[in-house]
Subunit: 195 residues, 2 copies
């Protein structure tokens, strides 16, 4: 049994925590070596460059988001239960998963003007997420739980907006009413699309 | 006539452009000196520290937001025209004002875990903005243009969400449908609160 994969996972966990507070940009192999109490050369054996490290961190975050938010939602019944599970899992993710809030949120603001493979990967994850929400809405329409005139992509846009406003209000403003506001907007949205 | 205020304004314009793409964190006096083609000591005469520079940049952005987005909206008729003017001015701000998109958006993600006077000032501007939106909604309710059971703070939360989702979709995903989606969500919101 090799310790390689476990070590790698432990390093990525540490990197995710750092990225959630300080962003991906400050995530150098040097800084991570200090935080993970490893040598720089040891870290270089796992990640060949800063860019490679940032990509791996986003990949690890994406795997975790799928495991904690998306996959459990897809096991719920089509229609309202599934869309609500996605929303609740996502709120919990944004609130509890990392010390500095969602890693993708931190990365999105940082990378929007920085072309390259890290930005490309981030864009891909965000497009996939919007498409997954739209797909959940489409499944609800097909099962006649949601109205047939609902636009799945518009619902996806609005769900993203609620989560982003929640993130802003809770992370930046530290407003304790953020979760209540987000739930109310989501409940209103559900009431509008219900068949 | 002193050239001081003009020079200061020109430096802050340059700083705002830099902050919109690379964030406030990279905005050092050294970098700005290079971009503004001034000596470091010349810049130190205007801004005594990096923190002071960041604060002044946010203040300049805030003054400009008030002049371009909020003040013109407040000159529109109460109710729908005023809320729509705010929304349209804000879309235009997010789209056209800076090369890297809204400076506050870049700062919000950067500063949410960095306590200090720059964060405090940013929080103040965002609270003021939410309060201004709520106040526009309240004025609409008082003039019986909006329904009496509308919650002004909830509308403010949703307007912020629409703008944040627009920002994400246009800046990160470069999706040309972002503006159409944002307008549609806003029109739906207006239809729900109209008296």
């Amino acid at each position: 049994m090799s310790k390689g994969p476990d070590t790698r996972r432990a390093i990525l966990d540490q990197a995710l925590r750092l990225a959630s507070t300080g962003g991906l940009g400050q995530l150098s192999i040097g800084l991570l070596a200090g935080a993970a109490k490893m040598s720089k050369s040891g870290l270089f054996a796992h990640f060949r460059s800063k860019e490679q490290l940032q990509l791996e961190v986003l990949r690890a975050a994406s795997d975790r988001f799928v495991a904690k938010v998306l996959a459990p939602a897809l096991r719920a019944t089509r229609g309202e239960p599934r869309l609500r599970a996605l929303f609740e899992n996502w709120l919990a993710w944004d609130r509890d998963e990392f010390p500095g809030g969602c890693v993708f949120q931190a990365a999105a603001a940082e990378l929007d003007d920085q072309p390259g493979p890290v930005r490309d990967y981030l864009v891909e994850t965000q497009r996939d997420l919007q498409e997954s929400i739209a797909q959940i809405v489409r499944a609800g329409i097909e099962s006649r739980k949601f109205r047939s005139d609902v636009d799945p992509d518009q619902v996806a846009f609005e769900v993203v907006g609620i989560l982003l406003a929640f993130h802003r209000m809770s992370r930046l403003l530290r407003d304790e009413g953020a979760e209540r506001r987000a739930r109310r907007s989501f409940d209103d949205l559900l009431a509008r699309i219900r068949a």
